[in-house]
């Protein structure tokens, strides 16, 4: 399968790899996917007092497109308010990375990961 240049770039130089402390109050964690389906994404956001995402980290088990999708969204969510971040659509991710049809599920997973991380943060601060 031929990958786009952007996928290869994110895959070879993934941005913001790593983990925050899950227990930290300023951190929201989203873990989506399943090993059975061949991809699992963990996305974490660090949120400041104004509700703005200051930093993000990810770890992904999955194909190159899954890794690239999650790497890309860690860049995109930084500086965004929670609701703005949760509004990122998979179609934007797929378009940015020129994902082929068989890899669209990777972008959907990345969208779900953001939503899950935002939700986790909100749950902590109810």
């Amino acid at each position: 399968m031929a990958y786009s240049e952007k996928v290869i770039d994110h895959y070879e130089n993934p941005r913001n790899v790593g983990s925050f402390d899950k227990g930290d109050d300023s951190v929201g964690t989203g873990m989506v996917g399943a090993p059975a389906c061949g991809d699992v994404m963990k996305l974490q956001i660090k949120v400041n007092k104004d509700g703005v995402i200051e930093d993000a980290r990810f770890k992904t088990y999955g194909c190159g497109s899954a890794i690239a999708s999650s790497s890309l969204v860690t860049e995109w969510v930084k500086g965004k308010k929670l609701d703005e971040a949760a509004g990122i659509k998979n179609t934007q991710i797929a378009a940015e990375l020129s994902l082929p049809p068989v890899k669209i599920h990777c972008s959907i997973l990345a969208e779900d990961a953001i939503k899950a991380a935002v939700e986790d943060y909100k749950k902590k601060h109810k």
């Binding site: 895959y11 790899v17 983990s19 989506v32 996917g33 389906c37 770890k59 190159g64």
Partner: protein, 402 residues
Amino acid sequence: MKFPIYLDYSATTPVDPRVAQKMIPFLTEHFGNPASRSHAFGWKAEEAVEEAREHVAALVRCDAKELVWTSGATESINLALKGAAEFYKTKGKHLVTVKTEHKATLDSMRELERRGFEVTYLDVQPNGLIDLNQLESSLRKDTILVSVMFVNNEIGVIQDIPAIGEMCRKRGILFHVDAAQATGKCDIDLQALKADLMSFSAHKTYGPKGVGALFVRRKPRVRLEAQMHGGGHERGFRSGTLASHQIVGMGEAYRLAKLEMAAERESVRAMRDKLLAGMQQMEEVFVNGDLAQRVPHNLNLSFNFVEGESLIMAVKDIAVSSGSACTSASLEPSYVLRALGRSDELAHSSIRFTLGRFTTQEEVEYAVNHLKTKVAKLRDLSPLWEMHKEGIDLSTVQWAAH
């Protein structure tokens, strides 16, 4: 060293230069149609085709008259299964095969099911081998054909062909063996084996693509319904002008295999052992399929917590495959590994390394170091590896399937 390093010999092998040399005159100079009886061009081509047939027969110890040229193992398997099932359908409607067979067998069986046959697909044990008792109990009064592959294309395990042959012959059941991955790797003796039909390919044994053969036993005589109709070539079993240059290539490839097989197997084994030892210096690396009952050319490993496709993308200096080449376009994990009862994670994390005639020690060393670096990098990226390191048992996690 040339990059990428080719470690995918079970997908196909390069044509041995000695084979290519032998083929060329049959494209340009001796181009005659082997079926032309009226002039020297035809005679020359026919002579070469028959000489090649002798070479193939010599490697597998059968009579040259028992071999039918085809376009490859897929066609041989189709002809064997459909041809025998259709010819013997008045005797019975039941066929037996194994879940880890090549798609050529499985899809031919599916087609026969559509035509009204009943097929039993046997499970394999966790090591990839058939349980012979289970096979025996699957045989019925109306079973007409059993088809089992000699060497598995994905995991390289060798089935007990002699025992299965005895079991079938005793009951008057035909036995077909897909030997595409066995020639040049295993000793094949059709005088001793109770196989009635056996499929061969040239391009897995340093011959050209597009040519193969089917062994059809004469004593006891096996009959087939032809699947390709036309000029009545190959005693009516398979019509179509013989691809003389391809056939010459297959003959030469099999002649060389007979001469060099024993020595080659030992050198490949030494390299496979080195590859395995190197890989096992990493944690959570598992061999798929039995290691003893296996051709040394194959090493199928699962790198736990690393997804196969991303690993293949990472190891771009080596040419390997995850699952078999025929199914690697799909997102499904290998059906062969699933049949071994491998967990989804492990089935998704597999790489097949297959070594061959032109593999070198240096290439194997490079492959080991390359894999070590890339697996470490991907594990740093893997949330599953992180959980594993935190002591979480992944099988207890409730995943949301998507």
